[in-house]
């Protein structure tokens, strides 16, 4: 016998369910008076540094139908490539940019939208620079464990060409599933959960 490692097991995930809005965006679903605003509904203010962009899109199921009950969160670096986090050791991020946003997909057409800034480049583990990207996390009814993915920018072809994560994608025709459509300042990122155009999801 050897010593027990003594680690705990991570709490298992469960679906966020169809009423995730009650907890995470109560004002969006008509529960007013508990929180002043929904957390993550605004990412920038007048003093935020960097190029303003809009990121919009839909989350689409295996039958081609947009999810009207999904919740999307994004996490990104500021315009200088710094994260607003205690684990950021390279400097201090823009105090007017927290880097995190939360948006439900609309009940009418399933569209989500973030007003944010274009992120700067951040290093991969070995020091090489990654291309500018935004991390996405998607939960919904029918999704048992939150799905992580990344959005890259269509106008960063050179940086995307040397990005260490994109280089790991064995089937090269799937790289484009992580690159948004549209052009500055409005980028369109449709996330396909399943099927021919299935987005690359990450085990991070």
């Amino acid at each position: 016998m050897v010593q027990d490692l003594g680690y705990l097991k991570e709490t298992a995930s469960q679906t966020a369910g169809p009423y995730v809005h009650i907890g995470l965006t109560p004002n969006f679903c008509g529960i007013s008076g508990i929180y002043e605003t929904d957390l993550g509904s605004s990412m920038v203010n007048d003093r935020t540094l960097g190029q303003r962009i809009t990121v919009t899109g839909r989350v689409i199921d295996g039958a081609g139908m947009p999810l009207k009950d999904a919740l999307v969160e994004i996490w990104q670096a500021d315009a200088a490539g710094l994260y607003h986090s205690p684990s950021e050791t390279r400097g201090s991020a823009d105090p007017n940019f927290a880097g995190w946003g939360r948006c439900p997909t609309s009940a009418e057409d399933g569209v989500f939208m973030f007003e944010t800034v274009k992120p700067g480049r951040v290093p991969f583990r070995d020091g090489r620079l990654m291309a500018p990207h935004i991390t996405f996390w998607i939960v919904a009814r029918g999704i048992n464990i939150g799905l992580h993915t990344r959005m890259y920018f269509p106008d960063e072809a050179a940086a995307n060409g040397e990005d260490p994560l994109l280089a790991k994608i064995e089937h090269r025709d799937r790289v484009e599933t992580l690159v948004a459509a549209g052009e500055s300042p409005v980028y369109v990122f449709d996330i396909h959960l399943q099927g021919e155009k299935e987005t690359v999801f990450l085990d991070i």
């Binding site: 097991k9 991570e10 298992a12 199921d61 995190w100 919904a140 085990d203």
Partner: protein, 249 residues
């Protein structure tokens, strides 16, 4: 805000997720998962700074009643109807260390199993004094608590006669975005737990038992509210000693 050793924030990558412990994406007994689950394999990535970092939230964002669902939607002098309970516990990581400053959000149906949501049509009535959401931030020991009423079971259109066990949804932030977790808490002794297709998406019985809060008699407040204890475990992270060296550790 962070698990600091010598006052320094931790920057190690997270332990890989044990995806045989979590529910798989495709679990046909839970019908909606069929068209909402990826068919291709996930792309594995040892955490980069994009996943090791994550947003933090200050205690100053919390309102006085954010962790009191009995009162936070109630008219002055009134309160929600149902079994008054306290839900409390600690947020820990896999190494057993407390996760301080973790934002914990929760939502639930009322005592009759009715959610306050426009898409919800269950015939059980709304409680005019119950909204169903709350939030808190863990203290330096990773501790959290809130007061609420025990939610009722709830029928849903999956199988012909499927009912959810009484449950409270939890959303938790750790210190890195890779720790992001949404789960559900169930109640000790509920026979509905073992009939539920959503609970049944989890392959391992021990993983299910980890989601069942125990009745906590010691922390029950006499003549007021019973207590349930629910600890939450987030991913642990590696030592920082050899990070940022190309050869790794």
């Amino acid at each position: 805000m962070s698990n600091h050793d010598n006052g320094r924030p931790e920057t190690g990558a997270f332990f890989p997720r044990d995806r045989s412990w979590h529910p798989p994406a495709l679990s046909p007994g839970y019908k909606t998962s069929v068209l909402r689950s990826p068919r291709k394999a996930l792309l594995s990535l040892d955490g980069t700074i994009s996943e090791i970092t994550g947003p933090v939230f200050g205690h100053s964002m919390l309102g006085e009643l954010d962790n009191d669902l009995i009162r936070n939607f109630a008219k002055p002098g009134e309160s929600a109807i149902g079994e008054r309970i306290i839900v409390h516990g600690r947020v820990l990581d896999e190494r057993g260390r407390p996760v301080a400053g973790a934002l914990v959000e929760f939502w639930q149906a009322n005592a009759g199993g009715r959610y306050r949501h426009k898409k919800e049509s269950y015939l059980a009535p709304l409680d005019p004094n119950f909204g169903g959401c709350g939030r808190t931030i863990t203290d330096e020991n990773g501790y959290y608590y809130f007061r609420t009423i025990k939610p009722g079971p709830y029928p849903w259109p999956n199988g012909v006669n499927d009912w959810r066990p009484a449950h409270i949804h939890f959303s938790v932030f750790g210190h890195g975005f890779a720790q992001r977790l949404i789960t559900q808490m169930y109640f000790e002794g509920d026979p509905m737990i073992w009939k539920c297709p959503i609970v049944g998406t989890i392959p391992d019985r021990q993983a299910i038992e980890q989601l069942i809060a125990a009745l906590d008699w010691g922390n029950t407040v006499p003549m007021d509210a019973r207590a349930y204890k629910f600890d939450i475990v987030l991913r642990g992270r590696r030592s920082t000693f050899f990070e940022n060296r190309p050869e790794g550790n």
